[in-house]
Amino acid sequence: MIARATILRSPWKDLSRQHESATFGIWVFLASELLFFGSLLLLYTAYRVANPDVFIAAGRETDLWYGTVNTAVLMTSSLTMAVSAKAAEADMRRLTIWCLGATVALGLMFLVFKGFEYAEDIEKNLVPGANFALKQPAAQIFFALYWIMTAIHAIHLSIGLGLVGRLAISGALRRVQLRENPQVEVTALYWHLVDVIWIILYPLIYLMGRS
């Protein structure tokens, strides 16, 4: 007999109510994440308003190809995550687990490309400091924000990978039931947030000064 952890937890008497509550809870958390990243975007906006030409010139130095490919990768991972969540609802276990796995793979791909991109940025002296490549001081602020925003995004993505991966493994090993499991929806919503943030960061980091 394969043991399955019960997904109904105290204080809930009703799984659908627990599910509703988990979904509501994660959306409230996502609202807080909006303010979290929003603060960084505010800084970016304020500094851009103050230094438009410098920001555009600095923006030209980011690697458009890495950025664009990574955006496509992440959006695709959102697709697989969305399919996985719908499949879980429809009790299609194998599809759910394959898509969770695909999401992890695409997320890892993102991180690998990001790693290569970071290595290239370091070589091009785009780390603010003594050897910084551009001479205008405000360009260092652009890149400080670049490093911080992408790093924080990458940390969120890694946490997401942990959540998705854990679900994929527990589901594959039949340790937990995926159908009607609130954790699937919570994980999916968190993952989509990671995608949404990147979609907003993409034009701000990669599309400046290309014309």
Binding site: L35, V49, A82, A90
Partner: protein, 112 residues
């Protein structure tokens, strides 16, 4: 592929295709010499992509109103943060333009 599987892939796949097309569009538009308008287009397209992800992938289109309220609250408060702070940023720059300074950096330098 069962009809159910097909239906799931179809709906979400269409959104994904739309996202890729929009990505291509924004990539292309960035190369056009539109001056200040480039940023507007870039953010507008990003806005459409974000809306697609939120409404369809995240299911906000079908969610109970309580959840939409939570999402709207986040947006509302972020707007407050932006509007009131940028009021100060822009007002400072305007007063700085009236009294231009000799510094090279067009920073938000105040009372220097």
């Amino acid at each position: 592929m069962s009809p159910q599987t097909y239906a799931i892939w179809r709906k979400n796949g269409l959104v994904w295709l739309a996202l890729l097309v929009l990505l291509g569009l924004t990539f292309g538009a960035a190369h056009l010499p539109l001056g200040g308008f480039n940023v507007v287009i870039g953010l507008a397209i990003a806005g459409i992509k974000v809306t697609l992800v939120i409404v369809i992938f995240m299911g906000l289109g079908n969610s109970p109103s309580l959840i939409r309220l939570a999402a709207a609250a986040g947006v509302f408060w972020l707007t407050i943060l932006f509007v009131l702070t940028l009021t100060d940023v822009i007002a400072s720059r305007q007063s700085q333009n009236v009294h231009p300074q000799m510094t090279e950096e067009h920073s938000l330098s105040r009372n220097r």
